[in-house]
């Protein structure tokens, strides 16, 4: 089966969910999400049996890179995060119903819930497509597929002002960054005369290239990508949007949108890094952006009191580590060096596991614990030791404590910076890692060292599906922290 069938299946699945929602009279629309999870799980299994398209596929498949294990890995990440987001959405459904319901007579009590389960599938298809895109047009179209779905999802809670505010902010800034991206693409086309990445790489590598124009194109593209990645100084939207969006959407944003931006960054920055006339300046810019992002993200996280805002800043901080790996990419001449692609892919995989685990805990607690402040998790260890233990594992991994996946993510990035001799970058990363250590442990303090607030001592239950997902994620985090080869083997 050719690999691009997978995207079609996911889109078709999304349409089926919409149709079922529209025409079947479902008592409980949460079964839609279960159907979606089942479908995506099947697609996930199909990943292991797909094969490359025939050599000479013409027409539209020119836009689709032959699948290597890396693009399959990214497709797997997209599927896995969508499955987990749907699991969160099931737990979160009561909040969605409460904040979207129509008080009119005769309306379905869960009206408006169906699309909340169907939309992530379209974003997932966009993400999967993006990991194989090798043409500026297909990169742009897939990126926008994802972004537009997110515009809807962020503003989904239409009776919640915070969600609407987040939606508007995201829409306006997102549209602006899209403008930068297209303009950058135009300049890139002007400089290289091609829209296909292999041809662009080749053109940029030539000596006679117009470096001013190429750098201008790079600057425009970098602004757009920095916005999507949440890299400083284009990170300002992240905390507000993360805080306002429904929790499962925040999770999807921080993982899916981050993965999308990272893949595109890898694809678009690599030609510039491979270009001998440009690489020096490009690296310098990337280093500055990485240092800023590391410091801003991690230092601004220190005083945060809202959990989702804290995770927003932490997500900015992790973008800093991703950029650090990219900025330390070795010159092509160095033999036997770590490839930035490997490091970034591993970091992304680790980041996905630990962030989704944290958000699974958050959304599964949202009904029992209405607040999203860190203080509302006081005494969680007494109310639900399981939730507390899962959150502790997630936080330990985000902080980068050894024997968790997060440690190797950071370790690889540090190793690259050391090999490249980027001492300033390294110093910033050390400060960032130390700060992270503190603010992630703060969560553990709140959960373990304080008593629950009065009147909130009741035990909290976890649904079987969510519990299962949490256990799987915990095992994966520890497994990848002991034997990182488990993940590395998937894409190299």
């Amino acid at each position: 089966m050719p690999v691009y069938y997978l995207e079609f299946i996911v889109v078709a699945l999304g349409l089926v969910l919409l149709m079922v929602d529209a025409f079947a009279k479902l008592e409980d629309k949460r079964s839609l999400a279960r159907l979606g999870i089942l479908g995506l799980a099947i697609v996930f299994c199909l990943l292991f049996i797909v094969k490359a398209p025939e050599a000479a596929v013409g027409g539209i498949w020119r836009f689709y890179a032959a699948p290597d294990s890396l693009s399959l890995f990214f497709k797997g990440l997209a599927l896995l995060s969508t499955i987990l987001v749907l699991i969160m959405a099931i737990d979160y459904a009561p909040i969605v119903i409460a904040q979207t319901a129509n008080p009119e007579d005769g309306a379905h009590p869960q009206a408006g819930l169906g699309e909340f389960f169907a939309l992530p599938l379209f974003a997932c298809a966009g993400l999967m497509w993006m990991s194989s895109a090798n043409h500026l047009v297909s990169i742009f179209v897939s990126l926008e597929t994802v972004s537009i779905t997110f515009y809807i999802l962020v503003a989904y809670l239409r009776r919640n002002v915070g969600s609407l505010e987040a939606g508007v902010k995201y829409l306006i800034l997102g549209a602006l960054s899209t403008g930068f991206l297209v303009y950058g693409f135009a300049w890139l086309f002007g400089v290289t005369g091609s829209m296909e990445l292999p041809a662009i790489t080749e053109a940029l590598g030539k000596d006679g290239i117009n470096t001013t124009a190429a750098l201008f194109a790079f600057a425009l593209i970098l602004i757009a990508l920095a916005f999507k990645l949440g890299a400083a100084p284009f990170h300002l939207w992240i905390p507000d949007v993360y805080q306002g969006a429904p929790t499962p959407v925040t999770a999807f944003l921080s993982v899916g949108s981050k993965a999308a931006a990272t893949i595109v960054t890898l694809r678009l920055v690599s030609p510039f890094l491979a270009s001998a006339p440009l690489v020096g300046k490009i690296t310098a810019v990337l280093i500055v952006v990485a240092i800023l992002t590391l410091l801003v993200g991690n230092l601004a996280a220190l005083p945060q009191k809202n959990f989702k805002r804290l995770l927003a800043y932490s997500s900015i901080g992790h973008s800093g580590f991703l950029l650090m790996a990219l900025a330390s990419a070795p010159r092509a001449s160095v033999a036997n060096a770590m490839s930035p692609t490997t490091v970034v892919a591993f970091y992304l995989g680790a980041y996905l596991l630990m962030t989704l685990l944290a958000f699974l805990v958050l959304s599964s607690l949202r009904v029992a614990i209405p607040g999203e402040e860190i203080d509302s998790y006081r005494g969680l260890a007494k109310r639900s030791p399981f939730h507390a233990a899962a959150l502790l594992v997630a936080m330990a991994s985000l902080a980068g404590i050894p024997l968790t996946a997060g440690f190797f993510g950071k370790f690889f990035a540090f190793k690259m910076a050391i090999d490249a001799g980027q001492w300033w970058l390294l110093a910033a990363a050390l400060v960032a890692a130390a700060a992270g250590f503190y603010y992630y442990l703060k969560i553990a303090v709140s959960m373990y060292f304080s008593e629950p607030a009065k009147g909130e001592e009741g035990a909290i239950r976890v649904s079987p599906l969510t519990g299962f997902a949490m256990v799987v994620l915990m095992i994966l985090i520890v497994a990848a922290g002991v034997a990182p080869g488990v993940i590395v083997g998937l894409f190299s």
């Binding site: 233990a389 404590i401 050894p402 190793k415 553990a444 990182p484 080869g485």
Partner: protein, 499 residues
């Protein structure tokens, strides 16, 4: 699964089982006794003739990637590791045994025993791993459980603050250490994490001296913070005073030794020129540990604080043995790690029991309890003598070896290290002063009116502590019991370094 994998994973699997709902105390106790049996099995089957090689070795490759050192889950022990594994197993059994009965544990017994097992498993893992990454990572494994244990189950109002202090100190120490280790691995070609291969590489093609000096300094400070080296010692005494008793026993007795182990195993062989260059700094700081902290210890007014500071002070001797840089000095340091680990665990165990019974450990509230509690008095007396280093206890044998090692040489010139040794000898007097004063304050003299004496130590409490005492006496009367393991290992280490 090899013997050592069994040894390391037993406590970790038991922790998992406790987390999943197995009876906490029973599982923890069973696992720790099994660990002790396996450790003794290793000691019995240990080949004491082979020099330097690790025994019971096993290895599983976990990651091979271009540009990154090969990573494997590898275990193996030489005599030094074996002695520390025995120490860990003994203290783990005692610590789990004296852990307060379930009713006395605030909150969850599950979390309590789970954390203890993780701390114990982490220590054993760190002492048996032959892969640099796991050597480091297993030590880190104990960090968060320690943090939680002190913050949740600690004594006193300041426990959260104390938990933060120890975690930040140890976290920063580990980070400095990590930078030093990465630099060392990079300077040696960055192809392997295997400790033995790294040492061989460092001997075949030594790292440039300038780099070595940086590497040694980073490793010395990183490991030093973990061992409460002066002036990075301020976390230790409050943490031990406020930690739950078993954690104080495990941390002061076992985990802290990881820093010394690292200095012997890594810092010395990987950067010998750096060690030589910084020798005087090492000597000044270790005198700070012995003399300055010794005086601080005398000034303490509470038993638990005094014990905390005394454990900081005694680390100075171990540094002296390592600084001596010869077989006898380093062997003495290893023996001291064992002896001090047992004696401080014994003292913290007794102090914890007394805190439970009397509700306080202030010296001025005590007096004359030996008359009504002779068993406690006797056991405490033995522990006191051991801690001072009287002949007949392992501590004496270790300290003698260290002083001989540090003063060694046939010429009569007074080198810096000889002056330092003369200074350090006064430490023996200082420890006698504070330990004997403590004993007098607690057990001798008139008994204050307000003091109610509870029933004497029960068998259940005595048994695990007697285990520690018997080991101390056995090694004290016959140091060869352990020296037969230590000597070939240290010989091998110096052969590997010097060629």
């Amino acid at each position: 699964m090899s013997t050592l994998e069994l040894l390391v994973f037993l406590p970790l699997l038991a922790a998992l089982a406790v987390g999943l709902g197995a009876p906490a105390r029973f599982t923890a106790l069973g696992a720790s006794v099994l660990v002790l049996l396996v450790a003794v099995y290793c000691a019995i089957n240990f080949n004491t003739v082979v020099e330097g090689a690790t025994q019971f070795a096993s290895s599983r490759t976990l990651l091979e990637m271009p540009g990154f050192p090969k990573l494997s889950l590898a275990f193996g022990i030489d005599g030094i590791s074996l002695v520390l594994v025995l120490l860990s197993a003994l203290v783990l059994v005692a610590a789990v045994f004296v852990a307060p009965q379930e009713s006395a544990i605030k909150g969850s017994a599950k979390l309590y025993y789970l954390s203890l097992l993780l701390i114990g498993g982490g220590a054993i893992g760190a002492f048996t791993a032959t892969d640099l990454f796991f050597l480091y990572a297993f030590h880190e494994l104990a960090l968060i459980p320690t943090f939680l244990m002190i913050g949740i189950f600690g004594h006193g109002e300041g426990r959260v603050r104390t938990a933060w202090t120890i975690t930040i100190f140890l976290g920063v120490g580990s980070l400095i250490l990590l930078v030093g280790l990465i630099l060392a691995v990079g300077a040696l070609g960055g192809t392997t994490f295997d400790v033995a291969s790294l040492i061989a590489l460092a001997k075949a093609a030594p790292i440039a001296e300038g780099t070595q000096s940086w590497i040694f300094l980073l490793l010395f400070i990183g490991f030093g913070i973990l061992v409460s080296l002066f002036p990075f010692h301020s976390w230790a005494a409050p943490a031990y005073a406020e930690a739950p008793t078993p954690v104080a026993m495990l941390h002061a007795g076992v985990l802290k030794k990881f820093g010394l182990y690292g200095l012997i195993r890594l810092a010395m062989p990987l950067a010998p020129a750096g060690a030589e260059k910084w020798l005087n700094l090492v000597l000044i700081l270790l005198l700070g540990n012995i003399l300055y902290i010794g005086l601080v210890t005398i000034a303490q007014k509470k038993l638990d604080r005094m014990l905390g500071y005394s454990s900081v002070m005694h680390m100075g001797y171990a540094f002296l043995g390592i600084a001596a840089g010869n077989v006898i000095g380093v062997s003495g340091a290893v023996l001291l790690m064992f002896a001090h680990g047992l004696s401080i665990a014994l003292l913290f165990g007794l102090a914890g029991w007394m805190r439970d019974q009397f509700g306080s450990l202030d010296f001025d509230k005590f007096g004359g309890i030996a008359k009504s509690m002779p068993k406690l008095g006797l056991l405490f007396g033995f522990a006191t003598f051991a801690s001072i280093g009287l002949p007949g206890f392992a501590n004496f044998a270790a300290e003698v070896e260290i002083f001989f090692g540090a003063f060694a040489g046939e010429d009569t010139t007074m080198t810096w290290i000889r002056w330092a040794t003369i200074g350090a000898l006064w430490g023996v007097v200082i420890s006698a002063v504070y330990m004997l004063r403590a004993f007098r304050n607690l057990f001798m003299g008139p008994k204050p009116e307000a003091l109610n004496t509870p029933a004497d130590l029960s068998w259940g409490t005595r048994l695990p502590l007697l285990l520690l005492l018997v080991a101390l006496l056995a090694v004290g009367f016959s140091p060869e019991l352990l020296n037969q393991f230590i000597r070939p290992a240290v010989n091998g280490l110096f052969t590997a370094m010097a060629g």
